[in-house]
Amino acid sequence: MMQVADQIDTITIQITGRFDFRVIKEFQQLLGRDPRTWVIDLGGVDYVDSSALGMLLLLRERVGGDSMRVQLRGVRGQPRDVLLMAKFDRMFKLD
């Protein structure tokens, strides 16, 4: 499940449960926006698959590879293991 908070320069996407292939379409619809900063709150996520990694990389492309414009928050458990294994800590700001 995804909740979106649209502030002045920041869009916060809060995801709960599984961040996987089921949310591709919903996530991609948000990529049409162009805030200064994206915050992806994964504090409520207990599972990611490689589709989620793909969504995050599309977002990274969207901001021209500027890692300061995308923050991944609350990453723990299986999602943290997967993101670190995929070396996303080199490409994103992980809080």
Binding site: R22, I24, D49, S50, G54, M85
Partner: protein, 179 residues
């Protein structure tokens, strides 16, 4: 689509539903045949319960099952998928191919063979196979593409035994329970 309405179990709920060693000692073989990604989700939930680490195992299984559908049965290659994802047309393409011959008649076949403490899983699709050795050896830190790292990721985490039978339409993994 239907699967967006499904409320998946949490990982903790899955762990509670897993059959456990006593049941696995009685189990010999399970076969499943399915077509859609919604069904793949259910199959991954079920088969993960046969593995010693159902959380890691589920991650690996869903990658293999979705690959079998998207790349195998629906014949959407890696580069094509990347293009479709960037153009936000991937979901529509998947839906269209499911309705079209020859893709609509294709199935994924999963066989789980248990000789406790060993669990062998074979996942066969009806597609033409793919260059699986390159997929297994792919670099994980490439940011060039939004897809194409799933196979490499799971071969280095949950399924180190992962290999394919040529031409690449049969994935084989083995998991072993601690005694």
């Amino acid at each position: 689509m239907a699967y967006t309405q499904r409320i998946p179990l949490t990982l903790a709920q899955h762990a509670q539903r897993a059959p456990g060693k006593d049941t696995l000692r009685l189990l010999r073989r399970v076969e499943l045949v399915f077509r859609t990604r919604e069904e793949a989700d259910d199959v991954a939930d079920l088969v993960a319960g046969f593995l010693p680490d159902p959380v890691q195992g589920r991650f690996g299984l869903i990658e293999l099952l979705l690959n079998a559908i998207e790349h195998g049965n629906l014949a959407i290659g890696g580069a094509r998928k990347a293009q479709l994802l960037r153009e936000h047309r991937f979901e529509d393409e998947v839906a269209a191919r499911f309705e079209r011959e020859p893709f609509s008649a294709r199935r994924v076949h999963v066989a789980v063979t248990v000789a406790f403490p060993t669990v062998d899983i074979e996942i066969r699709d009806d597609g033409d196979g793919f260059a699986w050795r390159a997929a297994v050896a792919a670099e994980l830190d490439s940011a060039d593409s939004p897809n194409g790292r799933g196979i490499a990721l799971i071969s280095r985490t949950c399924f180190p035994s992962l290999h394919y039978r040529d031409p690449g339409n049969i994935a084989v993994v083995r998991a072993t329970w601690p005694r």
